[in-house]
């Protein structure tokens, strides 16, 4: 096997996650009680024995950069190789923002060169999955391919949401359709690619010189290779768990799936650990009067109330008489006494007072953005404070850093929102 270098695309804003990505890039969004989305891809790399990793950042990179640091939690603090954060920089042009996924890798060809890349794994930093990339690479080498794309069979009725591959009997990709209205196959691209370096370099340079290209792997580079018959692309079928938690609804669902007795995504597999940078915290404490079932309750959490079917992150406090149901509560959030929270996502460092109700009432369309907030879930942005006694309906949004005085009223109808006052 040649020298493999992984390039993790971690610049995405993830606009469909609304307030959850207002301050952090999508790969830095917390997931599963103690992780951030990028942990899954980083852990897959090291579990696959790949210790040369570039992380391509762009949008709000500082939480991500702090999280990754020198890569110690993933054993990526190496003398040779390891992890390197690759932000855009001013080059020949005044500003070289990454124009697309392909352009981001193009701008870092030098990094690949320096690392003597023979094979390049192009990965997304915001997917939840466990994959041994060696299976993909072995397949790629066996087929003698120039590039191989990991694909998954999806239900045909959902195929129009994905990039769909059409393959011949050998598994070679003969055609590709981006989000086709009438899909000819159900083989969807997972945005996980392996390329021979020399081949990748050639097609990226060609793509860069194409004024009509948006410089995206899925939209431009892959179709161009197929259209102009530049090289052989194969589809590698993956049959494990894979999720792009791109919407508030899918984010919430994927979190809550973890609490099932036999979850489809196994965090507990001793042979495939997920590593993360997390704060040192004592074990979770559950009080005598507390009730906790069908939930993850992370380290440092102290539960005095009741928690059902929920994911509770590190250092969360849940006061006496408070009920938390079907919810995701992120790190260091404190919930007071006698509250009721149902179907909510509460981001980090939020303070919720006593006697607060959230996620109750009629269904209603979001007045803030009905494209993003569709799931009837109420979402609270990080660092906000919700005062005592406030009642908040379904599908509501509390912005990032909202202060008690931003609440004009004690009752928020379903679909309503509170944003911080402009300074």
């Amino acid at each position: 096997m040649g020298n493999v270098v992984a390039m993790i695309l971690a610049g995405g804003q993830g606009t469909r996650l609304g307030v959850l990505t207002e301050r952090v890039a999508k790969p830095a969004v917390p997931f599963g009680g103690k992780y951030r989305l990028i942990d899954f891809t980083l852990s897959n790399c090291v579990n696959s024995g790949i210790y040369r990793v570039g992380v391509l950042t762009q949008y709000r990179p500082h939480v991500l950069a702090k999280h990754i640091g020198i890569g110690r939690p993933w054993d990526l603090d190496r003398k040779d190789g390891g992890v390197e954060i690759l932000p855009p920089y001013v080059g020949r042009n005044e500003s070289d923002w990454y124009k697309g996924t392909a352009n981001a890798v193009y701008q870092n060809l030098e990094f690949l060169e320096e690392n003597d890349a023979e094979l390049v794994l192009v990965l997304s930093g915001d997917h939840v999955y466990a994959m041994n990339y060696n299976d993909l690479i072995d397949y790629h080498l066996l087929k003698g391919a120039d590039g191989t794309i990991a694909c998954m069979e999806v239900p045909l009725e959902e195929a129009s949401r994905f990039g769909i591959m059409i393959t011949d009997v050998e598994g070679r990709i003969v055609d590709f359709e981006e989000k086709p209205p009438k899909p000819r196959s159900n083989l969807a691209s997972l945005g996980i690619y392996v390329f021979n370096y020399e081949f990748l370099k050639r097609v990226l340079i060609e793509d860069e010189n194409d004024p009509n290209s948006s410089h995206d792997f899925g939209k431009d580079v892959i179709p161009r290779i197929l259209r102009e018959n530049k090289g052989s692309l194969y589809a590698f079928r993956f049959d494990g768990y894979w999720r792009d938690v791109g919407t508030i609804r899918s984010y919430w669902e994927a979190n809550l799936e973890l609490v099932l007795p036999v979850p489809s995504f196994n965090l507990y597999d001793p042979n495939w650990r997920f590593f993360t940078h997390s704060e040192e915290m004592p074990p979770a404490y559950v009080a005598p009067e507390a009730k906790t079932s069908t939930s993850l309750v992370s380290e440092g959490a102290e539960v005095y109330g009741e928690v059902f079917n929920s994911v509770i992150f590190q250092g969360v406090r849940i006061g006496k008489g408070t009920v938390v149901k079907n919810s995701v509560i992120m790190t260091k959030t404190e919930i007071g006494e006698n509250c009721y929270l149902e179907n909510v996502i509460v981001a980090e460092n939020v303070k919720i007072g006593n006697n607060v109700k959230m996620g109750v009432g009629e269904d209603a369309e979001s007045k803030l953005d009905s494209k993003i907030y569709t799931g009837l879930l109420t979402v609270v942005g990080m660092n906000s404070t919700i005062p005592d006694g406030v009642v908040i309906g379904k599908n509501c949004v509390i912005g990032v850093g909202v202060k008690p005085e931003d609440f004009k009223t004690k009752k928020l109808e379903s679909g309503d929102f509170v944003l911080p006052r402009e300074e």
Binding site: V259, P282, P283
Partner: protein, 370 residues
């Protein structure tokens, strides 16, 4: 002020048997994810001590594995950092440490080298949280030769198991009785010494070559008249795990009290320990958990009350665990009942098995199958 930290962690402690069959008392697991030494070590690091020597001797493997290169305590340093000081064979020297003073004497190099002015000597099996800075200031202000950490012990301690200290009204130590049958007071020495490094060297050279090997009995007590030995009072939570299985059990149960958790976990800095990267604890639909500490990686499907559950434990459906301590990787199978027991790491409690302890606390050793 530059301070060298030394932690005495060689202790064997028969009274914690069988927990100490495979490990030094400093490496005994506590509170779901820690080992006893984490407290003193974290206290030192949180107090700004950047160079720490750990004196080990008895069964050091688990301790060494736990400490590693000192990474978790930020002690993996180019200058300073963590030093494991084990007995070794050299020209003209004995191998085993014959006592606490001898242990330090045999590692004179760490005292000779480095630019520290003072030495803080602590013990690896004490559970407490403290920033030592006020004690250092007190030592300097008093112009003390040696400052000893002391605490007034209440009736929950057996005083005749501790070093009982007599003080004058100035807090100067006038007498120390080690484990007196009839204690004259309730102020006990907590095993923490603070003194000038040069003085320590002098004292060790003056005693150890004469065949006197104990730091308290042979170095401090005979010099109480000649040296200014002061006591610095500690008022917080302090317990010694080495004092026996019941004490060990009691300490672990104490953590279920909010005020003890607040003090040990959330005040005076964090407690650092070796991380294991396990997923969050999971409570299934059949789980009933009350007044318990549950560590990472555990999956609870049964009932857990008033207990401390360590990392990666499985409590299966229908199993009941009450008033117990269940250590790492142990599996309690369906329908098993455990009350008032301590179960060491990697044990299996078979389906339907019932084990109840009472005054006589049953302890099951590592890898036991019940």
């Amino acid at each position: 002020m530059r301070v060298l930290g030394l932690i005495l962690a060689g202790g064997k402690s028969d009274r914690l048997w069988p927990l100490t069959k495979v490990r030094a008392s400093a490496a005994v697991p506590v509170f779901g994810k820690y080992r006893a030494i984490d407290f003193t070590l974290s206290n030192m690091v949180n107090s700004g001590i950047r160079k720490v020597g750990i004196l080990t001797q008895y069964n050091p493997r688990s301790l060494m594995d736990h400490l590693g290169a000192g990474k978790e305590w930020d002690l993996d340093r180019k200058s300073g950092g963590l030093f494991i000081l084990q007995p070794y064979v050299g020209p003209n020297r004995e191998v085993w440490y014959r006592g606490t003073a001898d242990a330090i004497f045999q590692n004179m190099t760490i005292l000779r080298r480095g630019e520290e002015d003072h030495v803080l000597i602590g013990s690896g099996d004490h559970i407490y949280k403290m920033i030592y800075k006020d004690m250092f200031n007190y030592h300097l202000k008093r112009g003390a030769d040696i400052t000893l950490l002391v605490k007034e012990l209440d009736e929950t301690y057996n005083l005749s198991e501790y070093g009982i200290v007599q003080l004058d009204q100035d807090m100067r130590v006038v007498e120390i009785e080690e484990k007196p049958a009839k204690p004259k007071g309730n102020i006990a020495f907590l095993g923490v010494y603070f003194l000038n490094k040069e003085l320590l060297k002098e004292l060790l050279y003056a005693t150890v070559p004469q065949g006197k090997y104990d730091l308290l009995l042979d170095v401090v007590i005979p010099n109480l008249d000649k040296l200014k030995v002061y006591a610095y009072r500690f008022d917080g939570y302090w317990r010694n795990v080495k004092k026996g299985i019941h004490e060990y059990y009691r300490i672990n149960m104490d953590i279920l009290k909010k005020e003890v958790r607040d003090e040990l976990f959330y005040r005076n800095g964090k407690v650092y320990t070796k991380l294991k990267d396990l997923p969050p604890p999971k409570f299934t639909s059949t789980a009933i958990v009350e007044n318990s500490l549950i560590a990472d990686g555990s999956v609870i499907a049964g009932t857990v009350r008033n207990s401390v559950v360590f990392r990666n434990v499985r409590i299966k459906v229908g199993a009941v665990v009450e008033n117990s301590i269940i250590m790492e990787n142990t599996v309690v199978e369906e329908g098993a009942v455990l009350r008032n027991v301590i179960i060491d790491k990697n044990c299996i409690v078979r389906e339907g098995r019932v084990v109840e302890g009472s005054g006589d606390l049953p302890v099951f050793e590592k890898r036991a199958v019940l």
